[in-house]
């Protein structure tokens, strides 16, 4: 394949990754923004989403789409409930102290991951996509006959991958609407701005925290359900999304949703493209160093404004 079509292919793969990453990272970002805590177990909620998706789909009968739709609804709810329970049992009791919360969520990370290993097992398990037509993609070139459209062999995608991108955009719009147009969103933003003030205005901050923690985990799970037909469910699959979400949230500016989405698209797309030129390991080294240096020298993120 020539360079041009190859780049198009890499961008499409990158867009799928960016879509899922945006959902996961927005979940992490909302939790950090509203509650001011870093949830190290976020990647495990992603993994749980995939595992529950497999579980629900394997119970469902009939067309694979039935199982998938059920998973799309049930897995995020289940994961959200587990996260909310963790918030009530653990985080509330350490009073959301930033450092103790990190240590506690590291503990949760191991508990969730290892209990999954005990029950779900060490195998990777697939979920069938609801539909999966191959779509060939056209390319153009200036040949002997001038401009012409060609169909290079191997340049293509599937209808499911396009669905993932569309679904992620739809969900992000819904999240945006929830945050800016509903009462719950208002409560969340009020709590983010000033916890004490929110409390004084009669907002039940505790309940906001429980919902936000569950909601953030649910978003990660939603991202995982979308990706699991492409990438199988495995108990160790939470590591990469966690690291990438961290990178995205920090580059985008801690707690800024639009920054997070922009950074997710940037990182998701560039990861595919950079891997064409460099080894993936080198790309990862560069991005982790980038995050460290952004935190040190530009803590408001690349797109954020400096706080007063």
């Amino acid at each position: 394949m020539d360079f041009g079509p190859y780049l198009l292919l890499a961008s499409l793969e990158g867009a799928v990754m960016a879509a899922v990453l945006a959902l996961t990272a927005v979940g992490l970002s909302i939790v950090f923004g509203v509650m001011r805590v870093v949830n190290v177990a976020h990647g495990e909620f992603f993994m749980l989403g995939a595992v529950f998706a497999w579980w629900v789909a394997s119970w469902a009968v009939g067309h694979p789409a039935i199982g998938f739709v059920l998973a799309l609804v049930l897995a995020p709810i289940l994961v959200g409930l587990i996260a909310s329970a963790a918030d009530m049992i653990v985080l509330k009791r350490v009073e959301y102290d930033p450092e103790r919360t990190i240590v506690a969520t590291i503990g949760l990370l191991y508990i969730i991951q290892q209990v999954t290993l005990m029950t779900f097992g060490p195998e990777a398990r697939p979920v069938q996509p609801p539909f999966n037509q191959r779509l060939a993609l056209p390319w153009f070139e200036f040949g002997e006959n001038g401009f012409e459209i060609i169909w290079p062999w191997g340049l293509g995608t599937t209808s499911y991958k396009l669905f993932v991108i569309a679904a992620a955009i739809a969900i992000l719009l819904a999240v945006w609407a929830l945050m800016s147009r509903t009462k719950l969103g208002l409560y969340m933003r009020a709590t983010q701005l000033d916890r004490q003030m929110a409390q004084a205005f009669g907002i039940n901050v505790e309940r906001v925290y429980v919902s936000v923690f569950g909601f953030g985990a649910g978003l990660a799970a939603l991202g995982a359900v979308l990706i699991v037909p492409i990438q199988q469910a495995h108990y160790l699959m939470g590591g990469d999304p966690l690291l990438l979400s961290f990178i995205v949230v920090i580059i985008g500016g801690l707690g800024s949703l639009s920054g997070t989405v922009v950074a997710a698209v940037l990182i998701g797309m560039s990861d595919g493209v950079i891997s064409m030129f460099f080894s993936p390991t080198l790309a990862k080294i560069l991005s982790t160093l980038l995050v460290a240096f952004i935190l040190i020298f530009r803590p408001q993120g690349l797109f954020g404004k400096r706080a007063a």
């Binding site: 450092e99 103790r100 590291i106 290892q114 961290f246 390991t281 995050v291 040190i296």
Partner: protein, 314 residues
């Protein structure tokens, strides 16, 4: 008795117990205890920063593996003797911790945690990237014939036990000395109230930087010695898990006590050893202990003893 005398007696007592243990415990526990003593040095290094300065690092695997790889690579590729290789390992950790400290200390709190996590992750990935020299994930074995110092065979269990003991004893007494020194007191003051310490005229950044270097160098010493005594250098020791473990050991044993890291390492080692006999998902124990500690005993075992019984415990 003065508090310093009491605490010296206590720690010398612990060391004496470890010498006696050598002669009475079974070979199985004997081997375990050698590992625990070296890992406890790692924990003690971690504790200098976390327990006394109050800086929570999530990247100490970087220093541990710097010591280990510095030692291993020097032996493997430069063909130096075991003792010189240890020195190279310690020096690598020293230099790396000075560099990391100089940049990471511009942040505090959660940002410091994430910065150290990211730097350590970059270090781990670098080990994989330079697989030609490091043998990547697989790691490499240090052949038994090279594992000798001054004619002593470090593969012999008894020699190994006493080598580990020697390192532990030196580091324990050094930490004890550090904690009682004026410098150590200033570290505690910074932990308790950084702004006040600065307004008493102390150079807070310099003190923190020196603490990072001491902490990283001790961790690197543990890494170098661990690699040499047990004959294996591998990328596992650079993963996040090895940054979390010293945190876990110190939290369990009691942050900000000299004896705590040893106690925490001892308990956790056996807890994980025991549970790995029951399930392959043995790290669940680490998770449960971490959560329980944060919820119910943030002071750890020695910390609780200090709070309730022995307020002079350093």
């Amino acid at each position: 008795m003065r508090p310093e005398t009491k605490s010296l007696a206590l720690h010398l007592g612990l060391l004496a117990l470890l010498v006696i243990a050598q002669f009475v415990i079974s070979p199985f526990h004997h081997g375990n205890l050698s590992r625990i003593m070296v890992l406890a040095v790692f924990a003690m290094g971690y504790n200098v920063l976390f327990g006394y300065v109050g800086l929570l690092s999530l990247g100490h695997a970087l220093f541990f593996s710097a010591g280990m790889y510095g030692m291993g690579l020097a032996m493997q590729h430069l063909g130096v003797s075991a003792l010189a290789a240890i020195a190279v390992g310690i020096l690598s950790a020293f230099v790396l911790s000075a560099v990391v400290g100089a940049v990471a200390l511009r942040t505090t709190g959660v940002a410091f945690m994430i910065v150290t996590l990211m730097l350590a992750q970059a270090g781990y990935l670098a080990i994989l990237y330079f697989g030609t020299y490091t043998r990547g994930d697989e790691g490499f074995v240090i052949q038994p014939e090279f594992r000798t110092i001054a004619g002593l065979d470090l593969t012999d269990p008894t020699v190994r036990y006493f080598a580990a003991f020697l390192v532990l004893a030196v580091c324990l007494l050094l930490t004890l000395r550090l904690v009682h020194s004026s410098f150590g007191r200033v570290l505690v003051a910074i932990r308790e109230n950084e702004e006040r310490a600065r307004m008493l005229g102390y150079d807070v950044f310099r003190h923190k930087l020196i603490a990072v270097v001491i902490s990283g160098t001790l961790s690197g010493t543990a890494g170098a010695v661990y690699g040499l005594l047990f004959g294996y250098v591998g990328a596992t020791f650079a993963t996040v898990q090895y940054s979390i473990l010293p945190l876990l050991w110190v939290l369990l044993g009691g942050a900000g006590t000299v004896i705590g890291p040893f106690i925490g390492t001892l308990f956790m080692f056996y807890l994980i050893d025991f549970s790995s006999g029951l399930t392959s998902a043995y790290m669940v124990v680490a998770g449960v202990v971490l959560v329980l500690l944060t919820l119910f005993a943030p002071q750890g075992l020695a910390g609780e003893v200090k709070r309730r019984l022995l307020p002079w415990l350093p």
